[in-house]
Amino acid sequence: MKVLVPVKRVVDYNVKVRIKPDGSGVETANVKMSMNPFDEIAMEEAMRLKEAGIATEIVAVSIGGAQCQETLRTALAIGADRAILVETSVEVQPLGVAKLLKAIVAKESPIMVIMGKQAIDDDSNQTGQMLAALLNWSQGTFASKIRVKGATAEVTREVDGGLETVLLKLPAVVTTDLRLNEPRYVTLPNIMKAKKKPMETLTPEAVGVDVSPRLKVLKVQEPPKRTAGKVVKSVPELVEKLRSEAKVI
């Protein structure tokens, strides 16, 4: 079974983002970039399926500028067999990403696409569901457990009230939640090996997909700031403040 894992290059989760002075977006120049953490979990899960003898080949794909090659090298170092970069200078929105991935699926014919539930930059949480829709495939979002059994997959999902398990007919798109697994550390020998693995570069035009944005970002602003309040010395003082000042108890 071939598995496709889309990976996104995002501002590292430890970076405190800064808004550009002209309000056009968030500063990404000279900022540490990494693979989206949920995509790392997706790569790890694909590896575990391969180690269990279920997945036979893992293809990583990324969409964006030439720097996404670094993110794909990380995916190859985790263990992907091959990588595909769809190179574009346009900031592709979720629907465009889903359309590009659909084109890659048509070319590669994977049985499963495993991907992060959301990217930590735009926090959209859309692409996996959109891809499943465009392919007319089953979807298992926010997965905390995946068991592949023949032509089906049992996916345990994190939902607001707890957990639920759905039985998906394959092929399917599965999106990962945090507790699915703990990604392995990338070792130096694997980083060296990754350099020799094949990476193909395509463009949206070459695969015939229009990625022009449908949403226009008019401005990006700082959220209202919360300021530190008072430090109280004791529990009785806290109770008194909550009663008479904040009036919340």
Binding site: D123, N125, L131, V235, A246
Partner: protein, 309 residues
């Protein structure tokens, strides 16, 4: 203009987040219909009909809608979406699962997690874990939107008398089926609808110690939440998680206990009205957003607080 709201429910009653979604729809303006797709869901439809100002409730009742599977619900929504200028759903695990599938089938963008309506096509949504707010304008004919509950005050659920209209179910896609659910049972209010929340972090030490938070929560009529660190450490289940990747909450009172205050956690609770932090580390970042901070050993302070309420 007409707005369709995908009403989340459990076949017996609608979920509270629907009421915040109706509030967002009212700000957009226009006729508002609510879709209740379920199985033996007439009581849920009647509940929704009680919301004032709704034009009609569309009810689709079929066995394959019992568990709100995305593949089936999205096909149903798409079958009626052409009658609407906007399709809204609450930004819950239900809405997040279903609505992008609807948007893609309609070949339109989705605007996720709006917290403010600027006009009929322009909305404000948080990005980067709420560290930035983006104002976005949609160009598609149908605007598909998920609504973050904390951005809109809920409308009442009584006094209305909307007509309930049955609509035809679409065929079962057969893509997926429900095998089982393990829902957390609790007598306490739901996190996203609670007036007060008591949350614990890594400082709790273990799951057993959450009992002292539960005692405090019961005194306050509060829900119990947790940071990702506490969930990752296995103290409590994931559905307790408040933060960027968990639940987004904005109660009247949020008491953070043994939580250091990582940005991912702050993203989920910084819109709370009053924040109280109890932590023994005076340098913890949580104190920078707290209205009242108490530097103390939580194992003494929390039971003392419970006793004094």
């Amino acid at each position: 203009m007409a707005i369709l709201i995908i009403g989340e429910h459990d076949n017996a009653a609608i979920k509270p987040a629907v009421l915040n979604t109706v509030a967002a729809a009212q700000e957009i303006g226009g006729d508002i219909d609510i879709l209740i797709a379920g199985y033996q869901c007439a009581t849920a439809a009647q509940g929704a009909a009680g919301i004032p100002g709704i034009r009609k409730i569309l009810m689709a009742d079929a066995p394959h809608y019992a568990h709100a599977l995305a593949e089936n619900i999205s096909a149903l929504v798409v079958s009626i979406a052409k009658n609407y200028s906007h399709v809204l759903a609450p930004s819950t695990s239900f809405g997040k699962n279903v609505l992008p599938r609807v948007a893609a089938l309609l070949d339109v963008a989705q605007i996720s997690d709006i917290i403010k309506v600027e006009s009929t096509d322009t909305f404000v949504r948080p990005i980067y874990a709420g560290n930035a707010l983006a104002t976005v304008q949609a160009s598609d004919a149908i605007k598909v939107i998920t609504v973050r509950s904390t951005g809109f005050d809920p409308v009442p659920i009584a006094g209305g008398n909307a007509a309930i209209e049955s609509i035809a179910a679409q065929p079962d896609s057969g893509h997926s089926s429900m095998m089982g659910q393990e829902l957390t049972k609790s007598a306490r209010p739901e996190l996203t609808a609670a007036r007060a929340i008591v949350s614990g972090g890594r400082g709790m030490g273990n799951g057993e110690n959450f009992k002292i938070l539960e005692a405090l929560a019961d005194k306050l009529g509060a829900a119990v939440g947790a940071s990702r660190a506490a969930v990752d450490s296995g103290f409590v289940p994931n559905d307790y998680q408040v933060g960027q990747t968990g639940k987004i909450v904005a109660p009247e009172l949020y008491i953070a206990v043994g939580i250091s205050g990582a940005i991912q956690h702050l993203a989920g609770m910084k819109d709370s009205k009053v924040i109280v932090a109890i932590n023994k580390d005076a340098e913890a970042p949580i104190f920078q957003v707290a209205d009242y901070g108490l530097v103390a050993d939580l194992f003494q302070a929390v039971p003392e607080l419970t006793a004094q309420l």
